[in-house]
């Protein structure tokens, strides 16, 4: 699971009001290099919750993202490289996503988050 996906996931347990962002418990993180496309990054920059991305990348052991950003930073190639790496190249292979409100753990196995709810959570 990439952090792009993490940034789009929330806990949707019945009754949960603030299910985003899910806290990452990382057991195994892998890096997979992929080609960069700066147009994609610039488009996603507006959509991504920056603080959630910074916290998630820290939980994955990557601390190179700046905490405060505005759109002028998109002119920096160095920034785009870091953003690309955090968003698309870091994968949570094994671990869990934890609901910020209830503490319910959604397991991540073989890189796939299990967001299925139990009957009493729907």
């Amino acid at each position: 699971m990439r952090l792009l996906t993490h940034n789009m996931l929330s806990s949707n347990i019945k009754g949960v009001v603030n299910g985003f962002p899910l806290r990452i418990e990382a057991e195994k993180v892998v890096e997979k290099t992929v080609e960069m496309n700066s147009e994609f990054l610039k488009k996603m920059f507006d959509k991504v919750d920056w603080k959630a991305l910074v916290d998630a990348s820290r939980a994955m052991g990557y601390t190179e993202l700046p905490e405060e950003v505005d759109s002028s930073i998109l002119d920096s190639d160095e920034f785009l490289n870091r953003f690309h790496h955090a968003l698309l190249e870091l994968h949570l292979e094994e671990g869990a996503l934890v609901c910020p409100e209830t503490g319910r753990r959604f397991p991540v196995n073989k890189g796939i988050p299990n967001m299925l709810l139990h009957e009493d959570e729907v």
Binding site: T5, L9, N37, D49, I112, M115, L116
Partner: protein, 257 residues
Amino acid sequence: MLASYKELPRTAQIRLVSSHQEVYEPCDDSFALVDALLADRSNLLEHHPSLCMEIGCGSGYVITSLALILGQEGCGVNYIATDINPHAVEVTQKTMEAHGVGAELVLTDIAAGLEERLAGLVDVMVVNPPYVPTPEDEVGVEGITSSWAGGENGRSVIDKILPVADRLLSEKGWLYMVTLTANNPSEICQQMRKKGYGSKIVIQRSTEEESLHIIKFWRDFDIGKDEPNQSASGFIGSLLTHIPLFSFWRRTNSDKC
């Protein structure tokens, strides 16, 4: 013939599609959906989607084919696929790896957990829903049954997916969906028209057992969302005749990105 064969766009190869006894294997409906994507290939390439999504990815045949048609990260395209069946997401992952492509996989019911943050971001969505009319209590049963059991008129899951698709699709978002005559596709198109979507049948195909329609939906900003009882003329007017397979390639494979 050989030269033109080499220019055919790549789609997933059956011999590389992974399988599991509890996962629906690519069948006529899957092939019809991929043929529809191929028929619309030049439009898809010009559409420049950033995020593509499949709901109910099963074997991974369709999302793999879409990724081969549109390219990957270097082309600025990312893929996300969901299934309610844990075996299906794993099989899809293997199928994609075998073709050298990848998607983000989420084990979930339709798009639960993604609806809030992914809203308005999906540029292309493909869905081969469980459309077979069955008793209502077979819907959502574990394992392979979830891939086909569609409840009354085969519409139970389709009618849950459509509002989710409406929420997730971007302003320029397109949805390609498999339906059966028994699902009443013209009624589905009228329902989507009320939400502001245009529609057309990209492929219509009769097999021994069923008559399949692959419908494409797009947001049509000329449609007044509050038009009451809109007639089905738009749907009927846009009916395309069956497109003979493989007759539509006018472009070479070199324009991939």
